[in-house]
């Protein structure tokens, strides 16, 4: 007992160990997994976040007219595991340290984040095209002499045709069979 009395006195002199929340901000480290946030400018629509989400809190689907896709994060279904952030290839999904998620029962269907990411139209054929964020395009075409600002406006089919045409022009005379 005397051994512990020493600690007891020390703790008494130190004062309360708890944070005086809500009168003062509570201890919140930067990395705290508080809420999932999407940056739609970086979203590729690849859907890996939906694939790895254990609670199926992420919905991602094209609209009826295929003008774009909607992206929803349902915070009340989210387990805050951070898998979406971990697997997101572009860093579009982050978790912020805002843990103030308490809300009245009546607001439970509003406790979500909704985005609409419009499709581009292919410059060649007009087909709906998933946007490639400029940062990703710059990374993909970093070592290519091509003008990537034009390439990213084409759908995969038109890109194939354009490449074939370009390569054909380049090798047209030398690669003549016969």
């Amino acid at each position: 007992m005397p051994r512990f009395l020493k600690i007891l006195v020390r703790n008494l002199l130190k004062g309360p160990a708890t944070d005086p929340f809500p009168f003062q901000e509570a201890f919140t480290p930067d990395r705290l997994r508080g809420r999932v946030v999407l940056n739609p400018d970086l979203c590729l629509g690849c859907g890996i976040c939906r694939h790895v989400c254990p609670g199926e809190a992420i919905r991602l689907e094209p609209d009826e007219g295929r003008t774009g896709y909607s992206f929803s994060i349902w915070h009340n279904t989210c387990a805050l595991c951070g898998s979406c952030r971990h697997f997101c290839p572009t860093g579009a999904i982050t978790l912020n340290a805002d843990w103030h998620g308490a809300h009245p029962q009546t607001d439970k269907y509003r406790h979500a984040e909704h985005h609409f990411v419009p499709y581009l139209r292919c410059a060649g054929c007009g087909a709906p095209l998933r946007p490639l964020p400029p940062g990703i395009a710059a990374r993909l075409y970093a070592h290519s002499p091509l003008d990537m600002t034009q390439v990213v406006k084409l759908c995969p089919d038109c890109r194939l045709t354009a490449t074939a045409k370009r390569e054909g022009e380049r090798y047209g005379t030398t690669a003549n069979p016969g």
Binding site: L32, R33, S83
Partner: protein, 368 residues
């Protein structure tokens, strides 16, 4: 002495304890046959929190299961995804890079010391030593702050992913972790001294709930329960995984086999864990922290680790798709709760809660 007992206390009767709030807030039901206030026979009824998680695991893909297994239990929430990832990596032949291995050890040992501190704290609470309980929980709070700062959550670290770890440490965090661990180490030395010598703790816990080395072998006990009875078994040393082969640590044993020895094993192990983390921080290799993923082929694989409560075993059966056919785990509490009837034989009713707590039962793991 017996003539002082009231007639009621001399009678034999059956006393139900549980299913709620036996020691921790986890359901477990005991039917005790009493002779006066001595326990003669114990019958355990389990299955109150069966959630069908193994069945859920066979309906989710490999990535989702990392998170699902983390939700099996809160106190060993890192051991489950860790062992699961090891099983998947064994099956797919994925080699985790050294930095990933070290970071995995770091997460596991931080969780282990927090888990052990929680259990010895609850022991103080059960014997009515509330001020010590508060103090131990406050020491554990330092570990909680470390977890929250590095991983972003106090319990579910989300540290493991198939092929390595999801998190990384920079120099600021390394320093922060080392500083706080040194603080914990100081507190632990003090706590070990108190638990070892405090007359109140000794009077209440020594010679209570004894298991002999023979019982350990007969019942297949694992973890701190086995080590407190002198059985030096530890998966980390017996079949090293992750970076445990490169790190120096002692397998802590005590000889008493009673509630007191089990608390001492846990406290000393918590100190050993702090030492392991400090070593791992010092030796942390550079490079990648996770491997590139490869396809997960059809086949079977197992993995085992030393969870805070003892050996944790995972079995995985995959068919080449991204959803496992079967995922099964055997948790240490399943083996250890079989020791309860042995420990409670002829104990006083007042010691039942103390004995239940001393095996550090994880009911949510066991019944999943």
């Amino acid at each position: 002495m017996s003539d002082l007992l009231t007639p009621c206390a001399q009678k034999s009767f059956t006393l139900p304890i549980g299913p709620l709030h036996v020691a921790l807030e986890e359901p477990m039901y005991f039917k005790l046959d009493l002779d006066g206030e001595r326990v003669r026979q114990v019958e355990i009824t389990a299955g109150h929190v069966h959630r069908g998680m193994e069945s859920l695991a066979a309906k989710r893909n490999f990535f989702q299961n990392v998170v699902l297994t983390e939700r099996v239990c809160s106190l060993c929430s890192n051991s489950h995804p860790f062992t699961y990832c090891l099983a998947v990596e064994n099956l797919a032949g994925i080699a985790v890079p050294p930095r990933g291995q070290y970071l995995r050890v770091l997460a596991e040992e931080i969780k282990r010391s927090a888990s052990h501190l929680f259990n010895v704290g609850i022991m103080a609470h059960v014997i009515g030593y509330k001020s010590l309980f508060m103090h131990v929980m406050q020491v554990r709070e330092i570990m909680q702050d470390i977890k929250e700062t590095i991983f972003g959550n106090r319990m579910d670290l989300a540290a493991n992913c198939i092929g390595g770890v999801t998190y990384d440490l920079d120099s600021t965090l390394l320093e922060f972790t080392a500083d706080n661990l040194n603080r914990v180490a100081g507190h632990l030395a003090e706590l070990i001294d108190i638990y070892r010598h405090d007359p109140m703790i000794k009077a209440r816990t020594q010679g209570v709930g004894v298991v002999s080395p023979k019982d350990v072998a007969a019942l297949g006990l694992v973890g701190p329960v086995a080590r407190a009875a002198g059985a030096a078994m530890d998966v980390r040393r017996d079949s090293p995984y992750a970076a445990y082969g490169d790190l120096e640590f002692a397998v802590i044993t005590e000889e008493g086999g009673d509630v007191h020895s089990r608390a001492m094993v846990r406290l000393r192990e918590a100190r050993e864990s702090v030492g392991i983390v400090l070593q791992a921080l010092g030796k942390l290799p550079g490079g990648e922290r996770r491997a590139r993923l490869s396809a997960i082929p059809a086949g079977e694989a197992v993995a085992r680790t030393e969870a805070p409560r003892g050996e944790l075993f995972y079995y995985l059966h995959a068919d080449g798709s991204d959803v496992p056919l079967r995922l099964k785990w055997r948790v240490p509490s399943y083996l250890n709760w079989d020791a309860l009837p042995v420990m409670m034989k002829d104990c006083a009713v007042a010691d039942v809660t103390l004995i239940v707590n001393s095996i550090d039962p994880c009911v949510s793991c066991t019944e999943r």
